[in-house]
Amino acid sequence: MEHKTKVRAEEGRQELFITREFDLPVELLFKAYAEADFVARWMGTKVLKLENKTHGSWQYETKDGEGKVVFRANGTIHEFIPNRKIVRTFEMEHAPFSVQLEFLEFKKLTDRTSMLSIHTVFRSVQHRDDMLKLPFAYGINMAHNRLEDIMAGRE
């Protein structure tokens, strides 16, 4: 089955490629990244700051139901070319991960479709692999904990 979102992570390299085709005109796809209101809606995060211009910076924050901050990340914008390109850094706060460099390229395919390519460069191969494993580790932990709950409940 062909996936709409593709992730390419070559063995032993400290970079990562994500590509995705959208049923959206490139202008709308870009708008989803350029305007704070839209970022907040699709990323499900609070946008504390988003200055989309060269030397601008950004900061996002997500809280849980009790108001505790569960995720905060920030970075600076190095290049911002409407409907074409964003170059920026990304760093998770209070996490053992170093800053990463992201190249986002937006391409028009047809009037109604577009393509986003994200090229991310990490500090090391280890760092890239740790980042990649996060959702996997989280999923396994969740499933494992719930399995333990069930087993405990059956006794």
Binding site: T5, R20, F22, L24, A32, W42, P135, F136, I150
Partner: protein, 107 residues
């Protein structure tokens, strides 16, 4: 409509994971599997159906009973740790697409 089920969605459910653990060592009939759970038999059947649809389990008719055994090749796919990462971004991008489509329609 695509009826192929997502493997990770399948193993996210604790009962389904417990079923996979059960049949990991030996194939079992639906009845034997169901006897291991307090859950109602139709619920267990539904879990078996999902696990079969995403090919984690292979059913085999033996006399009047259907025996389920693990599909090791599909289990290997789970070992591909990149997949949950891809799925996370796929979900996010699906959300992006629907948010922007709603905006386009003036919602």
């Amino acid at each position: 409509m695509n009826l192929r089920r997502d493997v990770f969605q399948a193993i996210a459910d604790p009962t389904r994971r417990a079923i996979l653990f059960l049949v990991a060592t030996q194939s079992m009939s639906a009845g034997t599997i169901a006897a291991n759970f307090d859950t109602a038999r139709p619920t267990v059947s539904r879990h078996l159906k999902i696990l079969t649809e995403c090919e984690l389990l292979k059913p085999e008719q033996s006399g009047r009973e259907v025996y389920y055994h693990l599909n090791p090749e599909k289990m290997k796919a789970i070992a591909d740790f990149v997949e949950p990462f891809r799925k996370l971004w796929d979900d996010r991008f699906n959300k992006l697409e629907s948010v922007m489509k709603a905006y386009e329609r003036g919602l």
